[in-house]
């Protein structure tokens, strides 16, 4: 007898949606473990709007979106333990937790959903040279200081990286009276959503420097200035292109990494392309009964898609607990030309339908996504525009899957004829 039928690690949007979906399918003894002092995850500090357009068909702020899911917990038998850190996950689905109220505990579960989210890449991860002064923040840390704690982190700002959090913070800091001098992006395209570039940079006349990076950081105590250089096609700084910005703050929005330390240590197989677990179409990892969803699985752009994926994981966890296991032989998915990865990485042949999520490696216009079964094209989806910053997804109905001859299908991009 397990202590709980289902343990969900993380009470962000992924964990909440997974738990609620499992509850809807009749699972009753559900425990959500949350390290912060409230449920909602990173949405709590995302006070801007734009959440929920797909899922709720209306525009909500982050706390509102999270609040709707927290409200749905009422009347369920789902238990949420905040201020509780998971220190270890064992293969047999024993979870080690610590909290001020309950001390150190081991809790067993019939199934586990991993929903720990992701963390930001730091200055160290990209080895920005220069002084070790203060004033360099990851965009999310600055966002927490401003939106949760109520403090300003600086007055003259440069943002490195055009990921969504960086773009949102460009607008947020401007609205709080700071001067955002530039947003600098290493790649020739932005990694953020187009709507954020328009609404957070263009609307406030903040210049976006594509194919540029920060090549020096100067400041004895607090940051005094940064040097920005243009980069060549190999992303190497071009001497002689330096621009100097006098600023006291550098925000980094240089990528997110799924937080899989618990998963790795438990022995969950990790995909080096996503830094998330390798999963089946039902979000089950390499450890039976352990599922993963949301940003711990792969980094999403929209919380609405996190919710949809997490509901799938929650329902699959319920199926596992109730003894309904997926059927059919394994078919693997591989990423062909132009595609960075796929989630899931493999699926059961008898699945009802298959949704595949992935990111493209470059910007494409009037191209198509093809699903190849050896040399045979199984499906083709036309797209007017695709960019690495926007996750793609396609759905293959069972009738198509039934035609597959090989044990591996390939997802690739067919570029438009010149």
């Amino acid at each position: 007898m397990f202590d709980y039928e289902l343990i969900v690690i993380g009470a962000g949007p992924a964990g909440l949606a997974a738990a609620l979906a499992a509850h809807e399918k009749g699972v009753r003894r559900i425990l959500i473990l949350e390290r912060d002092n409230q449920a909602g995850g990173i949405l709590n500090q995302c006070i801007h709007n734009g959440f929920g357009l797909h899922f709720f068909k209306e525009e909500l702020t982050g706390p509102e979106y999270a609040g709707r899911f927290v409200a749905m917990l009422a009347g369920t038998t789902i238990e949420v333990r905040t201020d509780t850190m998971v220190l270890e996950l064992e293969q047999n689905r024993t979870v080690h937790t610590v909290s001020p109220l309950r001390g150190y505990e081991r809790i067993t579960a019939g199934a586990v959903v991993l929903a720990m989210g992701c963390r930001e890449r730091t200055r160290g991860a990209i080895s920005i040279p220069g002084a070790r002064c203060s004033g360099i923040f990851t965009a999310g840390a600055a966002q927490r200081f401003m939106n949760i704690e109520g403090y300003m982190v600086g007055k003259r700002v440069v943002i490195l990286g055009s990921g969504d959090i960086g773009l949102i913070m460009a607008r947020r800091m401007t609205l709080e009276g700071a001067k955002v001098l530039a947003c600098v992006e290493l790649m020739p395209y932005s990694g953020g959503l187009n709507r954020n570039i328009v609404q957070c940079l263009h609307d406030f006349d903040i210049p976006l420097y594509l194919s540029h990076t920060v090549t020096d950081v100067v400041g004895k105590d607090r940051l005094e200035r940064v040097v920005v250089s243009k980069v060549d096609e190999n992303r190497r700084p071009i001497p002689g292109t330096e621009m100097v910005f006098d600023c006291d703050t550098l925000l980094l929005s240089v990528g997110l990494l799924p937080e899989n330390e618990l998963s790795r240590q438990a022995g969950v197989q990790i995909d080096p392309r996503t830094n998330g677990p390798v999963v089946w179409e039902n979000c089950e990892t390499s450890i039976p009964g352990v599922f993963a969803c949301g940003n711990v699985l792969h980094v999403h752009d929209l919380v609405d898609y996190v919710t949809a994926e997490s509901q799938r994981a929650g329902r699959a966890a319920a199926d596992f607990i109730q003894g309904r296991l997926p059927q059919g032989q394994e078919i693997r998915l591989e990423n062909g030309s132009g595609v960075g990865y796929t989630v899931p990485q493999h699926f059961h042949r008898d699945t009802d339908k298959l949704e595949i999520f992935f990111r493209v490696r470059a910007i494409y216009h009037n191209a198509a996504i093809r699903v190849m079964d050896g040399d045979t094209q199984l499906a083709r989806f036309r797209r007017e525009h695709m960019a690495p910053g926007e996750m793609e997804n396609i759905t293959l109905p069972k009738v198509l899957l039934d035609r597959a001859q090989h044990d591996t299908l390939r997802v690739e991009i067919e570029e438009a004829a010149q």
């Binding site: 390290r35 201020d83 850190m85 220190l87 610590v98 909290s99 001020p100 109220l101 309950r102 001390g103 150190y104 963390r119 930001e120 730091t122 200055r123 160290g124 991860a125 080895s127 040279p129 220069g130 002084a131 070790r132 002064c133 203060s134 004033g135 990851t138 999310g140 840390a141 927490r144 200081f145 401003m146 949760i148 704690e149 109520g150 403090y151 300003m152 982190v153 600086g154 007055k155 709080e176 009276g177 090549t215 950081v217 100067v218 004895k220 105590d221 607090r222 700084p237 006291d248 330390e261």
Partner: protein
């Protein structure tokens, strides 16, 4: 304030001297320019306890290195400082290097280094499969180790303070007047007087010496840059891996750290005494050289770069002794590598120098030479539960990457030398040292420091004076405070 002995500078050398002197019935004052101890070379170096085959036989460096390294295990055990006797290898990677290994071996034997052994490539690769398979040979030194250098400094300085030494932070010495009784030292914290002064000012020791008119040496600061990699790379090697030394230094090493990370560095470039900036060139060099020793290092798992400045000097050896021109003024200067290894022995040396100069040293009746610090993640389940029952704050994990609890942070903020900055807390308990580099816990640590020290979060610094983090409240204000 009047003291029997004043120590200028509280890096690991000043702290070792204070620790050694605090055993005796003396009034000891320590003047530190920074807002915390261990904030110069001590916090940014290779963290190695060298075996002692590098220095030339007969030098102070050779004697104190071997002696300090021998003292280190017991000292670290007594003061609860992380230390591991992992051993080291020097690699021969180019023709001619084998002769260097022979010379190092002979020097080590002359210096009294225990257990040295010359290895064939096969023997070396068996010990360390991650090494460059083209290596031509290696020198094994089993007595080498790794240590947490800043915690060693905290432990020494805290123990000294606990036993009566008085530490004055933010007290840079700006002028020294010679008086009938000895010296009067001017600082922004007031004037301090003593008949004897120990100059442990690290990369600024020549400037301090010039304040009393002794310009017999000059510090030639030399900056070294490093990569600190994630724990996922921490078992790439299990010993300290050196290349053959050159006149510029011991070259780029690859080593595990006591925290379980992997360290690669340093290069060596002439610099200002306080220049800890990283450079693209320096980092590229370190990376290339480290890869020569250990080809498989995954630099994508880098979590931090840093640079430290060595106090190289115009003297070949450590400068240890009473100034020839200014009686009562003692130089402990030019302490470059293997200074950290030698530090405990340099503390003893300071006692000897003062005794030889006629200072009457009577041991204290009561002396507390122990130190314990709770490391929650190292505790057993039962110990964890006992701690949390006593103080629930041990059940609240603040730093997720390194599993550091609020209880540990609060405890650090109430030690004999409490930290005043986010990085001060980081160095004491490890919060923010992990892969997210304080991205998640930084704001919470800031809040705990403010609460415990009774100051506004706006006044909590990242590190030294001037490194402000927050510039004020947002328009809505900080409702929680």
């Amino acid at each position: 304030m009047n003291y029997d002995v004043i120590i200028i500078g509280c890096g690991v050398i000043g702290a070792a001297c204070a620790h050694a002197l605090s055993r005796y019935q003396l009034r000891v004052g320590i003047l530190e320019a920074d807002n915390d101890v261990a904030n110069g070379t001590t916090k940014a170096n290779s963290a190695i306890v060298h075996a002692g085959y590098d220095p030339l036989p007969g030098t102070k460096m050779a004697r104190l290195n071997v002696r300090g390294t021998a003292m280190m295990p017991a000292l670290c055990a007594r003061l609860d400082v992380p230390y591991k006797n992992v051993g080291s290898l020097v690699l021969a990677l180019e023709p001619g290097d084998e002769q260097t290994l022979q010379a190092l071996y002979a020097r080590g034997v002359a210096n009294g280094v225990p257990g040295l052994q010359l290895l064939t490539p096969a023997q070396a690769l068996e010990l360390e499969p991650g090494l460059n398979p083209k290596l031509l040979g290696a020198l094994l030194a089993p007595s080498a180790g790794i240590v947490n250098p800043w915690e060693l400094c905290y432990a020494l300085a805290e123990t000294a303070v606990k036993n009566g030494a008085e530490l004055h932070l933010n007290a840079p010495v700006t002028a020294i007047r010679r008086t009938e009784e000895g010296f009067a030292l001017q600082t922004p914290k007031g004037e301090f007087t003593a008949p004897r002064v120990l100059n442990c000012a690290g990369t600024h020791a020549d400037q301090i010496s010039r304040l009393v008119g002794d310009d017999s040496f000059e510090i030639l600061p030399s900056k070294g840059e490093y990569f600190l990699l994630d724990k996922s790379e921490g078992s790439r090697v299990s010993r300290v891996i050196f290349q053959c030394p050159s006149p510029a230094g011991k070259g780029v090493l690859v080593a595990p750290t006591v925290h379980g990370n992997l360290l690669a560095g340093p290069n060596a470039t002439a610099s200002d005494p306080d220049d800890t900036a990283n450079t693209a060139q320096g980092l590229a060099y370190v990376r290339a050289m480290a890869t020569r020793s250990v080809p498989g290092i995954n630099f994508r798992d880098n979590i931090r770069n840093f640079a430290g400045v060595r106090a190289n000097s115009t003297c070949e050896d450590f400068i240890l002794g009473q100034s020839e021109t200014v009686p009562g003024f003692f130089q402990l200067a030019g302490i470059r590598s293997p200074g950290l290894s030698a530090a405990p022995a340099i503390g003893e040396e300071a006692v000897r120098l003062l005794r030889d100069a006629g200072l009457d040293l009577q041991p204290k009746q009561q002396y507390d030479d122990t130190r314990r610090r709770i490391r929650f993640h190292e505790c057993s389940d039962e110990e964890k539960n006992r701690l949390i029952a006593q103080d629930p704050r041990y059940g609240r994990v603040i730093c997720r990457c390194e599993t550091v609890t609020e209880g540990e942070i609060v405890a650090a903020l109430h030690t004999p030398i409490p930290p005043v900055s986010v990085n001060g807390v980081k160095r004491r308990v490890g919060a923010g040292m992990g892969r997210c580099q304080g991205g998640f816990c930084g704001p919470r640590v800031q809040e705990i420091i403010a609460r415990e020290l009774g100051i506004s979060p706006v006044d909590v610094l990242m590190d030294w004076e001037g490194t402000w983090v927050l510039c004020g409240e947002t328009k809505g204000g900080a409702g929680r405070v």
